[in-house]
Structure formats: C-alpha cells, structure tokens
C-alpha cells in the first residue's frame, strides 16, 4: 500500500516538476486586451521599445465573445494576474468598476480628454470611438431601401432581411442596452419580439453578421464601423449607414483603459495606462484599419475627422440598462 502511495506521489511530483517554471523577473506588466490585436500589438510594442518594460498581453477574440477576459478578471479577483484592462468597449469596464475590480488612477496624459469620456472617480478613461451602424452591400441594396431609425428594423419588411450578433455579447450587448435605456423596457422588449417574429437572423458575432451580408444571406446587418472597414478589403461595395437611436444619433462606443485592483505590477501598470490613453495612441487608433474617431476634439480637427450624429445617453445610463437588456434577450431571443 505504502509503495503504491509512494509511486503515485512520485508520479504527481514528476508531472508537477515538469511544470516547474520560474516567474519572470524584472520590469513587466500584464495587460488583458480586447482591442483589435493587429493594432494593439503595435501599440504595446512601441511601449516596450520606449520603456524596456516587458509587456505580456492576453488577447480576447470574437471567438471568445469579447467577454472571455471579463470573466477571467472576475474569476481572478482574489489574486489578480492582470495589471491593465485595455478594452474595445466601455460598458463592461463600467460594470467592473462598480463591482470593485478596478483601482482609481487619473493619467496625466488624459488631461485633454473631455469629461464625458473619463470616470468621475478615475476608474477608467475612454479613447477612440466606433459607431454602431447598419452595413449593406450597395450592389444589392440601395440606400433608399434602408430605414432611418434603429427602431424601424423591427418592421417585418426590414426584419426579414436583417442579421445581427447575439446581443448577450460584445458591442451588440451595449447597443441593445442603449435601446432599453432610451426607449424603456416595454418598447425594448417589443423591438426584440418583433425582430424574432419578423425572421431576423441572429448569428454568433459581428463579423459573422457582416459575412452573412457579403454572402447574400442577409440584406443588411447591425455592426460596428471597424467591421465594415476591414470587410471592404474583400467587398469594396460594402457600405454603412448611421441610424438614429431616437434622440438624434447612433451609439458611439469608445475603447477604455483601466487599472486592475491589486494587480501584481502597479508601477509599470500606471506607466502603461499613461501611454495607452495618450494622444499618440489615439492618433494611432484613428489611423489604423479600425479608423476609430478620437474623443479629443483637437485631434479630430487635426485629422479631419468628424463625429457622426450621436445619442445623448450617458454611458453610465447604458451600463445601468445592461441587466434588463440581457434578461429580455434571454427571455425573448434565446428561449
């Protein structure tokens, strides 16, 4: 018996021993990142080159539904592995802050960012906007056949030709939450119900929705501006239209940067945060394939970019509506 125990003990030791790896020494910072990787790699590389700090990045992908890293941050709350959260959207970041998973920090480089894009307590800073748009193939759909307001999509003549990503995830989650925040629960639920009964196609991500349009399986889709820009590499006739949420414009979603509470490398994390929210990085983001619109008015002027008409809803109000929207989506679309 004791020999067997020793054998099993030795086996386990061998397995664990094979895993023996020392933690990296020196200046380092761990960033969890859901911003488009092609772009984020360039940014993080520039920071590494400039500071000598070793950046270890874990990227989220559309396959991970952009919420995979959020889950990881929550699961690791008792012993955080990441120092910085660099997100492609803002609403989940706000919720992380409300749950006490972020630490306040006001970067000096964010001084020229309008207050609307900074948390009052310093929990997050936002840069680089993407718009929620309707994408369509101009070869098959004329602009005159498109709705003007998001709510019109529920009409059966539009719903039957619409593709959209599962609203439990990613930026579509925030978009539907914005509808609930502005329209109220009843109108929001009716909208979802009519989408379903009208035959709208729910797919598993924004890029899948764009592909459905490109393949002719859908006439148009709800997506983000950057998805349309990159898809034009394959289909130049893909166009976008900004629809009105109901108060004069569409939803513009910024990227966000935040410090994880009790992250293992607080000093280098602050340095990276300073860099990520700087005008230099926002300019890179604007000039990338993603084409994000800067939140800094001076930078927008300099780059000749204009803000499309946008909703007046505050990001906090949209974050407030996330739960209600999620519940309605589960009840109406996922049932």
């Amino acid at each position: 018996m004791s020999r067997a125990l020793v054998r099993h003990g030795v086996s386990l030791s061998v397995v664990l021993g094979a895993c023996g790896v020392a933690a990296a020494a020196g200046d380092r910072v761990v960033v969890y990142c859901s911003v488009d990787e092609t772009f984020a790699r360039q940014v993080l590389q520039r920071f590494e080159d400039r500071t000598g700090v070793d950046v270890e990045a874990v990227f989220d992908t559309e396959a991970g539904k952009t919420t995979g890293l959020i889950r990881k941050i929550r699961a690791e709350a008792s012993r955080p592995r990441a120092d910085v959260w660099f997100s492609g959207e803002l609403f989940q970041t706000i919720l992380l802050g409300r749950d006490g998973l972020l630490t306040p920090y006001v970067p000096g480089t964010a001084a020229d960012i309008p207050q609307r894009f900074k948390d009052a307590q310093g929990l997050w800073t936002a840069i680089g906007l993407r718009g929620r748009v309707l994408a369509f193939d101009a070869k098959h759909t004329s602009a005159g056949d498109l709705p003007v307001r998001w709510e019109e999509l529920a009409e059966s003549r539009y719903a039957s030709r619409l593709a959209f990503a599962n609203p439990l995830f990613g930026t579509t989650h925030g978009h539907v939450a914005a509808m609930f925040a502005l329209w109220g629960d009843e109108r929001g639920r009716r909208f979802l119900g009519e989408l379903r009964s009208g035959g709208a196609r729910m797919v598993d991500g924004n890029s899948a929705a764009v592909r459905a349009v490109m393949a002719g399986r859908a006439g148009f889709c709800m997506t983000d501006t950057d998805d349309v820009r990159v898809a034009r590499r394959r289909l130049p006739s893909l166009e976008l239209r900004y629809l009105d949420l109901g108060d004069g414009g569409t939803l513009l979603i910024p990227s966000s940067v935040a410090l994880i509470r009790n992250g293992p490398n607080p000093e280098t994390a602050r340095r990276l945060t300073e860099f990520l929210v700087s005008a230099e990085v926002e300019r890179m983001l604007a000039e990338s394939d993603s084409g994000n619109i800067p939140v800094r008015p001076t930078l927008r002027n300099e780059l000749g970019m204009e803000l499309p008409p946008s909703t007046n809803l505050s990001y906090d109000r949209i974050a407030d509506a996330m739960k209600a929207a999620e519940g309605a989506v589960r009840e109406i679309l996922i049932r």
Partner: protein, 494 residues
C-alpha cells in the same frame, strides 16, 4: 503491467479534479435567474442541428474512408507500406480550420454552410475509420472475401462482403467521430454556422455561474452516452469472423496501385484545399512576414500541442496497462470531452487558480487541452490493447512474459500507426482549439489558433493563408517522421 501512476496523476489533473470542482461550484452558486434545468426551445433546436450535422459528418467520413480502408486491409499492416502509412496520417496532422479556409477558396456554394462543414470534417477525419476498418479487415473476414472474389472485382467484393462484416470497427469509429464532431467548434464557426457548442461558449464566456453552462450541456453528454451504449450493443452482437490468416496480407496486389489509390484520396481531400491556399499565398515575403509576426506563437503552440498529444496517448497507455477502473476512466473522459470547451476551460481555471505554478504558465494550457481530448488518448490506447493477438499473448504468458511486456511487444509495436494517429489527432485538435484556449490562455504563451481565427474575423486573408501554410509546413516533418519510423519497423520486424 505498465506503471499506472503517471496516467492516473494526469487523469486526476485534467479530468477528475476539474470535474469535481465544477460540480461543487455549480451546486454552491446555482444557476442564474431565468436559467432552467430543462433546455430552452432554442437549445433543443441547436442540439438537433448539432446532432444532425455530426451524424452527417460521421456518415460522410465513413464513406470517404472506404478506399483507404481497402488499402490498409489489403496491405495487412501499414508498416508494410511506410509511404501509405505516412499518407494515411497526413490529413490528421493539420488543424481542421485550415481545411475549412482551404475549401472556402474553391468558391463553390456546395462547400459553404452545412454541406461545407460536413465535407471539411470528412476530408479531415477519414483516416480514423480507414485505419480502424482496414486493420479489422486485415485480422478477419478473409474467407468471405476470398469467396466473393469468385464473382466480383476486389473493390466490389470489399464493398459487398467485407464492409458489412466490419460493423464493430465502424461503430467504434462512428463513436469517436461523433464525440469529436459534437463538441467541435472551429469548423462550424469557420463555416458561419451556430451549433450548440457555439452557444455554450458564449454562455460560458458571459456567465459567472458554471451551472448556466453545465445544465444546457448535459444533452450533449447524454447524446455521447447513448452513442457509447449503442457501441456496446453493436460490439456484442456483430458477427465477427476471425480469419485463419490473421495479420497476413490478402491476395497479392501491387503496392504501387495501393499507393496510387492513397495518393488519389489524399489529393482529393488534402492536396486540393492546401493547394488552393498555396496559390493564394502570394509571395514568400508574406509568409516571412507572418513568421516574423507570429513565429513565437507558432512555435509555442506547436510545442504545447505536441506535448499534449504525447501526454494524452501516454496517459491512455498507462491507464489501460494498469487495467483497474480503466473503463470508468474512458467513460468519464468521453463525457468530459463532449462538454463544451469553454465549460472545461472554466473548470480548469476554477480548479487551479490557487496554484500559480500551474495557473500562470503553459502547463495550464496542456492540462486544458488534455482535459478536452483525454478520451482520444485513452480510446486509442484501448484499441491498441484490444487488438492484442490472444493466442500469442497466452503463449507469451505461459512462457513467463509479464503483462507489460506482452502489451508493449504484441499490441503497442504493431499498433504504432494507430498510436501515432492518436498523437496527431490530439495535437491537431489542440492546435486548432479555440474554446478552451480562449479561457485558459496565459500571458507568456500566445496561441496561433486565436491569431488564425482573428485573421479570419478581420478579413486579413494574407495573414490567414500564410499562417495556415506555416501550420502545413510544421506538419510535414511529422509525416516524414512517421514514414521513417514505419520504414525502420519494416526493416526490423516486417
């Protein structure tokens, strides 16, 4: 007996501990409000679609495997034709996503959507049933085949007489493929399809409560369980003719013709999609650029995947050699393997979060992949063990040989191609995995599967094709190694 300790240690790390933690956490936290024990209509619909796709995939795969099964059966042992063995192994060395991207280059509408998904699975997995059915025929059914040859051509006799005799082998292959396809996420995703695994990945990524994913995933596990029961019944009932010519080749046939047939099958299933990718690659500079950008990720992913393949089959051999409770281990690993990868990943994270030596570094990835694909390693080892020549084993026992020596010399060495297939399949699946990877990825290791799918999402076709071709290039030495190993065996044993 083989030393079972390492096998059980790995099994505990990859399957038992995470499973217990998952169940405990599910009970402790319960499900979210509005999530019921009974799956929703949508989940049933997705389960139906998933099962239908998987069943079509299994059928297509079995049909597509027949020419290669014929070749393997006529040859007797793959060691007698090392080139054939390497050609047989080649399709399994590539991640299925690469096939999907290659076939999409044809632009044929027939190869998009559901038919595309079924065809990609079939063109990737046909070696599994081919090897199982071919090896089965090499050990039995010779007399019926010889009789049928009197009024039919060799292939005609094979289809008419031998195939119906191979119900056991077909059932084993069918179960392996079914489990593989039920939990497979990458190919349906690349084909633009939403299956239950897609939906559950979303739930796992979104919910703080494991029960939200565990409950809707149970029908998948139940489907796999039904498959196991069906296999058990087929196995017991199927007629099986043990040939007097066990292990010997069939009637003389030119190896050249068999090689030509295998080349034809490989050309239609592997060379064509890879050729289309190669034609689109553009230039060496694009390939070099991809290597410069993602060389580290490529190397790390290959190393982790290869280690997982070897560990999975090694674990299986260790467990099967030890005999006690091995059946339970196989059933547990199958049921665990059919659960959505994200749920498995979630369980691994929860189980090892307090152990930085595992959690913060690459071993977490190996454990995650091993959890997902342990069943293949155990299953392959089991098949190698049951292929043992009983008469010869009895004789060896009488002569005083130990069980370990008997297993090694009479089952493992003759079944090296099967074991290599197991290693290759686990490695390729690990290399292509997205579901587990998206949760268990660690800061120090970038994963090429995530880069590949992100290139797909971002319409970066140049990077997508270049990365896919680097994976093909990485698989080539493994096929060459298999060829060399089989040649060496032919010289030493054959």
């Amino acid at each position: 007996m083989l030393w079972p300790g390492p096998g059980w240690a790995l099994f505990c790390l990859a399957v038992l501990i995470p499973a217990v933690v998952l169940v405990v956490r599910s009970v402790q936290l319960g499900g979210s409000a509005g999530v019921s024990f009974w799956p929703s209509v949508r989940q049933w619909t997705l389960l139906g679609r998933t099962a239908w796709l998987a069943a079509c995939g299994v059928l297509a795969c079995l049909v597509l495997s027949l020419p290669a099964a014929y070749v393997v059966g006529r040859l007797g042992r793959t060691s007698r034709g090392p080139l054939i063995g390497a050609l047989l192994l080649a399709p399994l060395l590539l991640p299925p996503m690469v096939y999907a991207f290659g076939w999409q280059r044809t632009g044929l509408s027939l190869l998009q959507g559901r038919p595309g998904c079924v065809w990609v699975w079939a063109s990737w997995c046909w070696p599994i049933p081919a090897l199982l059915m071919g090896s089965g025929w090499a050990r039995g059914g010779r007399a019926s085949y010889a009789a049928a040859l009197l009024d039919a051509s060799p292939p005609g006799a094979f289809i008419r007489v031998v195939v119906p005799l191979l119900a056991r082998q077909a059932a084993v292959a069918g179960l392996i493929l079914l489990v593989l396809f039920l939990g497979e996420y990458s190919v349906p995703h690349a084909c633009g399809l939403t299956v239950l695994a897609t939906e559950l990945l979303g739930w796992a990524a979104n919910s703080d409560r494991p029960a939200d994913v565990l409950l809707p995933a149970l029908p998948l596990a139940a489907t796999a369980l039904v498959g196991l029961v069906v296999l058990h019944r087929v196995w017991r009932r199927a007629a099986w003719e043990e040939s007097a010519a066990d292990g010997l080749p069939g009637p003389p046939v030119g190896t050249g013709r068999l090689v030509a047939l295998m080349l034809l099958v490989d050309a239609g299933t592997v060379a064509l999609p890879i050729g289309l990718l190669t034609a689109e690659a553009g230039s060496w500079s694009a390939m070099a650029g991809a290597l410069r950008t993602y060389g580290g990720e490529l190397a790390a992913s290959l190393a982790v995947s290869a280690a997982t393949g070897l560990l999975a089959v090694g674990m299986g051999l260790s467990l099967v050699g030890g005999r006690g409770l091995r059946g339970l281990a196989l059933v547990a690993a199958v049921l665990w393997g059919v659960l959505p990868g994200a749920l498995v990943g979630e369980a691994i994270l929860t189980a090892y979060q307090r152990f930085p030596i595992l959690y913060d570094h690459w071993p977490l990835l190996v454990i995650g992949y091993l959890a997902r694909f342990a069943w293949i390693g155990i299953g392959v080892a089991w098949l190698a063990a049951v292929s043992l020549d009983r008469g010869m084993a009895e004789q060896a026992r009488t002569d005083g040989a130990g069980e370990g020596a008997i297993l090694r010399r009479l089952a493992l060495v003759p079944q090296a191609p099967l074991l290599l297939c197991g290693v290759a399949t686990v490695a390729a699946l690990s290399l292509a995995d997205l579901a587990v990877a998206s949760l268990v990825q660690v800061p120090s290791v970038g994963l090429v599967s995530l880069k590949l799918i992100e290139s797909f999402h971002r319409f970066e076709d140049g990077m997508l094709v270049s990365l896919s071709l680097w994976l093909v290039a990485a698989a080539a030495p493994a096929a060459l190694l298999a060829w060399v190993a089989l040649r060496a065996r032919r010289g030493g044993i054959g």
